[in-house]
């Protein structure tokens, strides 16, 4: 008993490097979140304080000046926000409606040409937006849709990777369940809606989360698909904030940046486990 209380030399030998490693790890973690911290406190600084030399690590005077300036910059920030929200919500809905039936058919039904069709999905998976936007823009211009939000929604209607991932989760539903439902005279539609969808809810939520993050953050696509501020999303507004004034007002810019970053961080705080699982799965498959 007495002996147990005294840490043995062996234990010290493993404990000390462990402590050093932990300490170092915490330091690196702080370094990783530091840029976000810097964004937040800059957003709450006054303009003169944001340019003070040396910079202050904690605002001497908290102010919402930067946020006011964002909204009074001559840019219609609420409009940009609305566009981002509308586009993001539409993309999520459209993707689910388009991709779920396709993924289901690829996973659970045998039909001619399915191999070729799935090949198309795989090819599409490898082609990035940076290679399709020129013809797509011209197509949208042809259809007279450039002055609307459609060019930011329609081309994202089917995401090759999403189909791939949903198919994988549909495949995991055992065939016996479908067979027994068929014996009970359930129709195809009933099987899909009442059995498959609830069983693949988790995968669908993950897909929806990917589209949310991807669309909310998208910059390149709206940049090339819009000619008019009325239809631009928040990501482009932040860029305009930089160019709006002579000399960069970093406190205003960081305030605008907060509007873009905070919703994503909030979602992450509530669903970090799910998001990390989803992303890992996406990488591992």
């Amino acid at each position: 008993m007495e002996k147990m209380k005294v840490p043995s030399a062996d234990r010290v030998k493993t404990l000390v490097p462990q402590l050093i490693s932990d300490f170092f790890k915490i330091v690196v973690m702080l370094a990783f979140v530091f840029p976000f911290y810097w964004m937040f406190i800059t957003a709450f600084k006054t303009y003169p304080e944001s340019m003070q030399v040396p910079p202050t690590m904690w605002p001497t005077q908290w102010t919402l000046e930067g946020f006011y300036a964002t909204f009074n910059s001559g840019l219609s920030i609420p409009r940009y926000m609305l566009n981002t929200v509308v586009v993001t919500a539409s993309v999520i809905c459209l993707q689910l409606v388009v991709m779920v039936p396709a993924a289901y058919a690829f996973a659970k039904r045998k039909f001619p040409l399915s191999g070729i069709a799935f090949g198309v999905v795989l090819v599409a998976f490898m082609i990035p937006q940076q290679l399709t936007y020129i013809p797509v823009y011209l197509m949208m211009a042809d259809w007279r849709l450039i002055n609307s939000l459609w060019p930011q929604i329609l081309p994202l209607g089917a995401d090759a990777f999403g189909i791939f991932m949903l198919r994988q989760s549909f495949k995991q539903v055992p065939d016996e369940i479908i067979e027994s439902a068929k014996l009970d005279n359930a129709s195809e539609l009933q099987i899909m809606v009442q059995i498959m969808l609830p069983m693949c809810k988790s995968a669908m939520i993950t897909i929806a989360m990917f589209s949310f993050i991807g669309t909310w953050n998208s910059y390149f696509w709206p940049l090339v698909m819009t000619n008019n501020d009325l239809y631009r999303p928040l990501t482009l507004a932040i860029e305009r904030l930089r160019d709006a004034e002579v000399g960069i007002h970093w406190n205003t810019l960081m305030a605008g940046n907060c509007l873009l970053v905070v919703p994503i961080l909030v979602v992450f705080v509530f669903a970090s486990k799910k998001i990390i699982e989803g992303f890992t799965y996406r990488g591992v498959k």
Binding site: M29, A102, S114, L131, W216, Y219, T280
Partner: protein, 310 residues
């Protein structure tokens, strides 16, 4: 007798009908998705190939047929295409090395199942979720060359010379790589970590019995065992690097000079920002496509042979 055969024929026809109805239903289910993919991904690429043979602009892409002249100009007349290619290559190599090395280190570092490591995974992953635009702005602010830029303040405080992070042609590209490494390490480390966890404990146990050192265990066991995953990351990071745009545009917009003008930005500039160079931009796009296809094939052909599969 006659009755029976006709009945059977009837049955066969009915089951055939039902089968075709089933096929039709399947096709109907994949139709919307296929329509979207073909219309907005496959067809545009073919269309781009066609446009690359013309001189034109956004209102009239097919002004004048040039055959392969755009490609000729790309490689033999204009010098700036090689610069864009080189910058993309530089970025790719830099990102590949730094992201791979650090993700491996971080994954190894977070291997043990502990509370702190779970928190670390979440923390390191966070930057990956944030928009490239936001990350670009935050780092531009940190790297500002003004006297109030934080990095330079710190450097001055500890007696080092200031660095022109984003406004010198030597440092601009490394600065962008640093930012993107910060942004993506957490993600790639997670992928590596999850494949490390799939290595059976018995193998490590055997190594421990043989008194193998930690580095030896890492290089002789861990690394070979996760090589399929590393191979996947190699392709993802390489093809991903060819697409880099957002962070570059925000942080340097291709400058200073043309030192960070990467391929995607080069195409963007020629597509809509200049007169009658749409076809030229499309030709550059086709080259980018070609390179991505070649990289994928090479990766598959050469690396796969050396990769250890369980």
């Amino acid at each position: 007798m006659l009755d029976k055969t006709s009945e059977m024929r009837d049955l066969a026809r009915r089951s055939r009908n039902r089968r075709w109805r089933g096929y039709a239903f399947s096709w109907l289910m994949i139709l919307p998705a296929m329509a979207f993919l073909v219309l907005f991904v496959i067809y545009p690429v073919i269309n781009m190939g066609n446009m690359s043979l013309y001189r034109g602009n956004a209102t009239n892409p097919y002004k004048e047929f040039l055959a392969l002249d755009n490609y000729h100009r790309l490689f033999f007349v204009k010098e700036d295409f090689y610069n864009a290619l080189g910058n993309t290559g530089l970025y790719t190599v830099g990102a590949l090395i730094s992201v791979m090395v650090f993700s491996l280190l971080f994954a190894q570092w977070m291997y043990k199942k502990r509370k702190l490591n779970n928190i670390a995974q979440t923390v390191f992953f966070t930057p990956h979720l944030v928009a490239g635009v936001s990350a670009g702005f935050i780092w531009s602010w940190l790297m500002s060359s003004q006297s109030y830029g934080l990095f330079n303040t710190v450097l001055t405080a500890i007696g080092l010379p200031e660095v022109h992070w984003l406004d010198s042609s030597e440092m601009a590209m490394p600065s962008i790589i640093i930012m993107n490494t910060w942004k993506s390490i957490g993600y790639y480390a997670l992928i590596i970590l999850s494949s490390m966890k799939n290595i059976p404990d018995e193998i490590y146990e055997a190594a421990r019995l043989d008194h193998a050192s930690a580095p030896k265990t890492f290089f002789k066991i861990t690394l070979p065992m996760i090589s399929p995953q590393l191979f996947f990351l190699l392709i993802t990071i390489t093809t991903g690097s060819f697409k880099v745009f957002d962070s570059v545009r925000i942080m340097t917009n291709g400058g200073p000079g043309d030192s960070t003008r990467v391929l995607s930005m080069y195409i963007y500039d020629y597509a809509f920002q200049r007169n009658n160079t749409l076809g030229y931009a499309c030709a550059a796009g086709m080259i980018m496509l070609l390179i991505m296809v070649i990289v994928t094939i090479i990766d598959f052909a050469f690396v796969e042979k050396k990769v250890h599969y369980q």
